[in-house]
C-alpha cells in the first residue's frame, strides 16, 4: 500500500504533458483525484456529516462494455437538504455508430441535438471527479453508472472511481425485502417513486432522475433511522 502510494506519487510528479502523464498512464485530473482526495469514510461517521452526491448517467444502452455515456447529472445532498444550486450536468456528443440507439426513446436525448452544450469525455470525467471529491456516491442501480464511468476512465488511461457507493435500490430492498412474490421491477426508480409518493415529472433526464433519487434517498433514510432507532451512521447502510 505504502509502496503503491509512493510509486503513484513518483510517477505522478514525473508526468508533465497536460492531461495524460507519460509514465504512470494517469491523466492529471485522475492523479489529483486519486492521491489528494481522501475517499475513506469511517463507518461510525454520522450520516448527516457525510457529503453525498446523487449521481445519474444516461447512456446509449445497457451494455457496460459497449455503450457510452450521453449525459451525466449530479446533485449534492447535505443533511436533509438537496442543494439545487450546486449541481453537475454535462452532455457528450453521441459517438459515431450509436445514433440509432434504442435508448433514445427512453432518455429522449436526440443524438447531437443543438439543445445541449457538449463537452468531450475527458473534460466530463475531469469535471465529474472534481465535483465528486470525497463524497459518498448515491444512485439508483448505481452499479451500472459506476461501471460506465469506470469504462470511460479506463479508455482515457485513468483508474476507477474510489468513492464509497450506496445503491438506493438495495436500500429499498432492505427496508422492504423482495420475496418470491416481489418481482425485481418493484424496486425500479419508477415503482419506488410511486411507493414513496415522489412525482415523476422529469424522469429520464439525468438531473431529473438525480432529484427523484435524492428525495427517495432522504425518505428511505428516515425510515431506516426509525428502524435503527438512533441517528444513522455510515455502517448502517
Amino acid at each position: 500500500m505504502a509502496v503503491a502510494e509512493w510509486l503513484r506519487r513518483v510517477f505522478g510528479l514525473a508526468g508533465g504533458d497536460g492531461r495524460r502523464s507519460s509514465e504512470g498512464g494517469w491523466p492529471d485530473y485522475y492523479r489529483r483525484y486519486a492521491t489528494e482526495v481522501d475517499h475513506r469514510i469511517p463507518p461510525d461517521t454520522d450520516l448527516r456529516e457525510i457529503p453525498v452526491v446523487v449521481l445519474d448517467a444516461e447512456a446509449t444502452g445497457i451494455d457496460v462494455r459497449q455503450d457510452r455515456i450521453l449525459c451525466m447529472g449530479g446533485l449534492r445532498v447535505s443533511g436533509n437538504s438537496i442543494n439545487l444550486g450546486e449541481k453537475f450536468e454535462a452532455y457528450l456528443p453521441t459517438p459515431p455508430g450509436f445514433e440509432r440507439s434504442d435508448a433514445v426513446v427512453i432518455h429522449g436525448i436526440i443524438p447531437n441535438s443543438q439543445r445541449y452544450a457538449y463537452v468531450d469525455e475527458p473534460t466530463l470525467l475531469s469535471d465529474l471527479l472534481e465535483f465528486l471529491d470525497g463524497a459518498l456516491i448515491v444512485g439508483h442501480h448505481i452499479g451500472f453508472d459506476v461501471a460506465l464511468i469506470n469504462q470511460a476512465l479506463k479508455r482515457h488511461g485513468a483508474g476507477p472511481l474510489l468513492n464509497q457507493v450506496v445503491d438506493t435500490a438495495d436500500l429499498a430492498k432492505r427496508l422492504r425485502p423482495a420475496g418470491y412474490w416481489t418481482p425485481e421491477h418493484d424496486f425500479s426508480l419508477d415503482a419506488l417513486a410511486r411507493r414513496y409518493r415522489i412525482p415523476l415529472s422529469d424522469r429520464h433526464t439525468a438531473l431529473g432522475d438525480c432529484y427523484i433519487t435524492g428525495v427517495l434517498w432522504l425518505k428511505l433514510l428516515s425510515r431506516l433511522a426509525l428502524r435503527v432507532g438512533r441517528d444513522l451512521q455510515l455502517r448502517d447502510l
Binding site: G73, L75, N80, S81, I82, N83, L84, G85, K87, E89, A117, R197, S201, D202, T205, L207, G208, C210, Y211, G214, V215, L218, K219, S222, A225
Partner: protein, 645 residues
C-alpha cells in the same frame, strides 16, 4: 443554464404569491438556488430564538405547524402551513430571531428559498414588497382571536340578542379609554388590548394627551408577519398624529370626519384637539354597530312593504348590509341574528300578503290556528344568503269532517306564500320541502305521527328529513303549536332513544371530514358541480348534524342554532368545552366564508372552486376541518357507532 429540475421548481413557485410577481428570468434565478429540504414527521424546521439562516420556506408537500410558546412554556398552535404556503419569512424582512417553532406534522418537502438572492430582487419588484407588507398579515389564528375579541365587546354582545335595539346615545358610553405610553413594548400594548377586549389602544404622553394610536390592523400588519419585533416600543408602529373630536360630538360629526379624513378611528378628547386629555375612541366598527346601515330601518321598511318586488329590493339592501358587516369582520353571532330577523320579517310579510290574497279570493280567514314553520338553516337562524326555501305548516287538530277543507285552505295559502317568497328570491325547493306540499302541511296530530315514524324507522330518507325538519322554528302564527311538537319529540326520545340517536349520529359521519384537503380538495366527482368543493355537505353539515344530535341527547329542545347549541354543550360538558368552542368557531368561519363567496358570485356560496380561494381562505378553511374530525370521533365513541358500521 436552467435545467429541468430548476424548471420544475420554477413551475411550482410561479403560481404562488409573491413569486408570481417576478419576471421569468428573476424567478428562474431564484429557483436555481433553491434548496430542497426533507422533513420526516415530527422533525423541527426551526426553533424560537434560533438565528435565521439566510432562507425562508415554501411547503412543496406535507404540512408544517407553527407554534408559539406562552408564558408557561405551553405550545400554542399558531398556523398550519400546507402546500404552497410560505413561512419563516422573518429573516427576509428583519434581522431578528425566529419567534415560532416550526415542526413537520407529516412527511414534508420544503423549498428553502435563499433570501439573499430574493432580497436583491425586491427593489425591482414593488408588488413583491407590497405583498409582503400587506397580505402576509392573514394569519388565521390572529383573525380568530380578533373575532373573539370583537365578540366580547360589550356593544356587540348586547346587540347580539336584540339587533334592532341600536340607538345613538351609546356612542357616549362612559368607558375609560385604553391607553399606553410611547416607550411601552408592543407586546404589553397587545396584552392590554386583549385584556380589555378592545380593537385599538391610544398612545398618550405624560399629560394624557394623544400622540398616536395602534389598532388590530397595525398589529396584524407589523407584528404577526414578523416584520417588527414584539419587544420594540409601540412608538415604532403607531399611527401618528391622530384625528381628534370633542367628547360631545354626534354620530353625524363622527361620520363626516371619518369620510373626510379616511381614518377608521377617531380619538375623543376634552376639547377636540390633541392638546387635551383623551376621553375615548370611536371606531368605524362602533359606528356601524350603532347606526350606519341600520338593520332596524330595513326591518321597518319590510313591515310597511306592499309588494314582493319591493321586498326583493329590501332583501338586496340587506345583502349590502351583510357585505359591509363581513368586510368589517363583525361577529358572526351578531350578523346571523340580524339577517335572521330580516329573513323572518320577510317571511311574515309574505304570509300576510298571502292571507290578503285569500281574502281577496273570497276564502276568508284561516279556519283553524296555525303556525308557519321555517326549516333547515333558516330554522336554525343561520341563513345569511337567500337559499332554497324550506318550510312547513302546522295547524291545530280539527274534527275529521273538517280536516280536508281546513288542509285545503292552508295548502292554498302556502301556495301564495311560497310564490311570494320565490319572487323575493328564495327559490322553490327542489325537494319540495315546502308548506305547499300536502305532505308537509299537517295537523298537530299528524305531525306527531310523522315525527314518531321518522324516529322509529331509520331509513336514509327519514334521516334526511330528520336533519331538515328537526330544526323547525315557528315564525308566524299562533305560536303554541311548535312547542306541542317539541314536547312530543322528547316524549318519544324517552321511550326509544338510543337507536334513533345513534342513527342521527351516523348521519353526521356520512360526510367524512375533508382531511385530504392538504393536498387536494375533496371535490365532487361528477354532475353540475364537478371539481368543486361542497362547503355545505362536507364541512358545515357534519357540524350542524353533530350539534343537533348532541343537543337532543342533552334534551335541550329549545336551542335551535348551531352556534348556540355548541355554546350550551360547552357548558353542559366542561370536559369537552374546548372542542365545542372550536367547533363553534369553525362553524362561524364557514358561515362567513360561504357568505363571502356567495356575495362575490351572486349565488348561495355552497360550492367553491379551490382556485377561487385566497391563500388565507384556504388556510382558514383547512383549520376548520380539525374540529369536524374531532367531533366526528366524539360521536363515534359516544354513540358506539363502530359497532353499527
Amino acid at each position: 443554464m436552467p435545467n429541468q429540475v430548476t424548471y420544475r421548481v420554477y413551475d411550482f413557485l410561479k403560481e404562488i404569491e409573491p413569486f408570481s410577481y417576478l419576471d421569468q428570468e428573476s424567478l428562474l434565478r431564484v429557483a436555481s438556488r433553491v434548496e430542497v429540504r426533507y422533513q420526516p414527521p415530527g422533525t423541527v424546521v426551526f426553533r424560537p430564538g434560533e438565528p435565521p439562516r439566510d432562507r425562508f420556506f415554501v411547503v412543496k408537500e406535507g404540512v408544517i405547524e407553527l407554534y408559539s410558546e406562552d408564558a408557561d412554556g405551553q405550545e400554542l398552535l399558531v398556523e398550519r402551513c400546507g402546500e404552497k404556503d410560505i413561512f419563516g419569512i422573518r429573516p427576509l424582512l428583519a434581522d431578528d430571531t425566529y419567534v415560532f417553532l416550526a415542526r413537520a406534522v407529516e412527511e414534508s418537502l420544503l423549498y428553502a428559498i435563499n433570501s439573499e438572492g430574493f432580497r436583491d430582487i425586491i427593489p425591482h419588484h414593488p408588488r413583491v414588497l407590497e405583498y409582503l407588507a400587506t397580505s402576509m398579515a392573514g394569519s388565521s389564528r390572529y383573525n380568530l382571536e380578533y373575532r373573539a375579541v370583537q365578540r366580547q365587546r360589550p356593544g356587540a354582545a348586547a346587540s347580539r340578542e336584540e339587533p334592532d335595539l341600536l340607538t345613538l346615545q351609546s356612542l357616549h358610553r362612559s368607558r375609560d379609554p385604553v391607553v399606553c405610553h410611547a416607550n411601552e413594548t408592543i407586546m404589553d400594548a397587545a396584552q392590554r388590548m386583549t385584556e380589555q377586549g378592545v380593537g385599538s389602544i391610544i398612545v398618550v404622553d405624560e399629560d394624557h394627551c394623544p400622540i398616536g394610536i395602534i389598532t388590530d390592523r397595525d398589529l396584524r400588519r407589523c407584528v404577526a408577519t414578523g416584520m417588527v419585533s414584539r419587544k420594540l416600543p409601540v412608538l415604532r408602529i403607531m399611527s401618528s398624529p391622530v384625528s381628534c373630536i370633542p367628547t360631545e360630538a354626534t354620530v353625524t360629526d363622527v361620520q363626516i370626519r371619518m369620510l373626510r379624513t379616511g381614518y377608521h378611528h377617531l380619538v375623543q378628547t376634552e376639547d377636540g384637539t390633541d392638546k387635551s386629555r383623551v376621553t375615548g375612541v370611536v371606531s368605524e366598527h362602533d359606528l356601524l354597530l350603532l347606526q350606519g346601515n341600520n338593520p332596524a330601518v330595513v326591518i321597518q321598511e319590510i313591515t310597511t312593504a306592499r309588494t314582493p318586488a319591493y321586498l326583493r329590493e329590501l332583501r338586496d339592501r340587506a345583502e349590502r348590509l351583510l357585505s359591509s358587516y363581513l368586510e368589517k369582520e363583525v361577529a358572526i353571532g351578531y350578523i346571523t341574528a340580524v339577517m335572521t330577523q330580516i329573513n323572518d320579517e320577510i317571511i311574515r310579510k309574505c304570509i300576510k300578503l298571502g292571507l290578503a290574497r285569500m281574502q281577496a279570493d273570497g276564502l276568508g280567514n284561516p279556519p283553524a290556528l296555525f303556525d308557519w314553520l321555517t326549516l333547515g338553516s333558516q330554522g336554525r337562524g343561520e341563513q345569511l344568503l337567500r337559499t332554497d326555501q324550506d318550510n312547513a305548516l302546522i295547524f291545530e287538530d280539527v274534527s275529521p269532517a273538517k280536516y280536508n277543507s281546513t288542509k285545503d285552505y292552508f295548502l292554498k295559502l302556502a301556495d301564495y306564500v311560497t310564490e311570494h317568497l320565490n319572487e323575493v328570491g328564495y327559490r322553490y325547493c327542489d325537494g319540495d320541502m315546502m308548506a305547499s306540499n300536502p305532505k308537509w302541511c299537517l295537523s298537530v296530530s299528524k305531525w306527531k305521527d310523522q315525527f314518531t315514524e321518522w324516529m322509529h324507522e331509520n331509513t336514509a330518507e327519514n334521516l334526511l328529513n330528520t336533519s331538515i325538519f328537526f330544526d323547525y322554528r315557528g315564525v308566524w302564527g299562533d305560536g303554541s303549536l311548535p312547542d306541542k311538537l317539541t314536547s312530543h319529540i322528547f316524549d318519544e326520545l324517552g321511550s326509544n332513544s338510543t337507536r334513533f340517536q345513534a342513527s342521527l349520529a351516523m348521519a353526521a359521519l356520512q360526510n367524512p371530514s375533508p382531511l385530504t384537503f392538504f393536498r387536494n380538495f375533496v371535490v365532487e366527482r361528477s354532475g353540475e358541480h364537478k371539481d368543486q368543493f361542497d362547503l355545505k355537505a362536507r364541512a358545515m353539515r357534519p357540524l350542524t348534524d353533530a350539534a343537533r344530535v348532541l343537543i337532543l341527547q342533552a334534551r335541550k329542545g329549545n336551542i335551535n342554532n348551531t352556534l348556540k347549541r355548541f355554546e350550551a354543550l360547552a357548558k353542559l360538558e366542561p370536559q369537552n368545552a374546548r372542542l365545542y368552542e372550536e367547533a363553534a368557531e369553525a362553524y362561524e368561519l364557514l358561515i362567513r366564508l360561504r357568505a363571502e363567496l356567495g356575495l362575490k358570485r351572486g349565488d348561495n356560496g355552497r360550492f367553491v372552486r379551490p382556485e377561487e380561494l385566497t391563500q388565507v381562505q384556504r388556510l382558514l378553511l383547512r383549520n376548520s376541518f380539525n374540529p369536524v374530525k374531532e367531533i366526528q370521533q366524539l360521536l363515534e365513541v359516544r354513540f358506539q357507532l363502530s359497532f353499527l358500521r
